[in-house]
């Protein structure tokens, strides 16, 4: 696959994963861009040990987790998240609620559920996260339970 093909195939999917993690469109776009810069830089070294999708999602997930360090380097108040204080008026309240509920989960749970909703196979999620497939299955079940509870609370 060429970079352009990877870019057009995975941009939306990576963007949604980043949105699931940070629940902020500008910030998510920023992480998404960083991810594709890395993909572009490392593509010549990619040896097909994993599928392209797994590889791209691994870079994206690690990039999301790496935001902790970036947030520490940038003084508070200058982060995109803080600048965009005005809540974006979305017409899709259900969708907003879904992202809000996901953003309240633990960091690694956010990634796992985002990958699941992105229709990534559980075996692939296990290889992205680095835990067993059985563990992924149970985790997804538990996360969905939590998500349902939160979603219903917001809906009331």
């Amino acid at each position: 696959m060429t970079f352009e093909e990877i870019y057009t195939t995975y941009w939306q999917r990576v963007f949604r994963l980043c949105m699931g993690y940070v629940n902020d469109p500008d910030w998510a776009k920023d992480i998404c861009q960083e991810t594709f810069i890395k993909v572009w830089e490392q593509l010549p070294k990619f040896r097909n040990e994993a599928s392209v999708g797994t590889w791209v999602f691994r870079i994206a997930s690690n990039n999301c987790l790496g935001q902790i360090e970036k947030a520490q380097r940038i003084p508070k108040g200058t982060l995109l998240k803080d600048v965009a204080e005005v809540p974006q008026q979305s017409i899709d309240k259900e969708l907003d609620n879904l992202y809000k509920c996901i953003s309240e989960l633990a960091e690694t749970d956010r990634i796992i559920i985002s990958l699941e909703l992105e229709d990534v196979k559980q075996a692939e999620i296990a290889s992205i996260v680095g835990i067993s497939e059985a563990n992924v299955r149970v985790k997804i079940h538990r996360i969905k339970e939590k998500l349902t509870q939160k979603f219903n609370e917001y809906a009331q």
Partner: protein
């Protein structure tokens, strides 16, 4: 509004659409990143070379007679080399964290890196201060020797007080600041690792 079932949840998730930006944006940003990194690195090294050349020039023109002056000069230059080497080394070290491994390995690598970085910063900051202080002390010996004893005592007294002050204040503050930042990160990354290790 009730929680949608699994299929609906996926359908809802997929409603999030964002226009795909032109891939040229990626190339432009990647190039500007590289350019910035190179500029920082070049600037730091030019600064180091210029300072060293200046010190060597001063020593050369002053023609010191004593060995202590020469040793002192070498130590001060070494202190600066170490100071910049730490900054120059940290950048490639950070790049070593392979970010296409799985999350679990990535976090473990990050933790190892942070521990290494913490050690490096503390040790190197100490070494920097030791070399700089002793270098200055040795360098001054020849020139204070030519002064009247009262002046040389005053000069040494002031220099010594400055060294003590910077050792207990600046050095401590620098180490504390680095450690605090790194420790906070280590704690957060350990928290993430724990999330994965916890029984589902």
């Amino acid at each position: 509004m009730n929680m949608p079932n699994n299929t609906d949840l996926k359908a809802l998730w997929n409603r999030q659409a964002s226009p795909v930006p032109d891939s040229k944006e990626i190339y432009a940003r990647a190039n500007s990143y590289k350019k910035n990194q190179t500029i920082t690195l070049v600037r730091m090294n030019v600064l180091l070379i210029l300072t060293s050349v200046f010190i060597i020039w001063v020593v050369w023109t002053a023609k010191p007679q004593m060995l202590s002056t020469k040793i002192g000069t070498v130590m001060v230059i070494m202190a600066m080399v170490i100071h910049l080497a730490v900054y120059n080394r940290i950048i490639p070290l950070l790049k070593k964290v392979n970010d296409h491994t799985n999350i679990n390995e990535y976090l473990q690598n990050l933790l190892k890196l942070k521990a290494k970085q913490r050690f490096l910063q503390t040790t190197m900051t100490n070494l920097y201060y030791v070399l700089l202080s002793s270098g200055m002390f040795l360098y001054m010996m020849e020139y204070t020797g030519r002064m009247k004893s009262a002046w040389s005592i005053v000069t040494y007294g002031l220099t010594f007080s400055w060294i003590v002050f910077s050792w207990f204040y600046f050095r401590r503050r620098a180490i504390k600041k680095h450690e605090q930042a790194i420790n906070e990160l280590i704690e957060k990354f350990e928290g993430l690792e724990k999330q994965l290790r916890s029984e589902p």
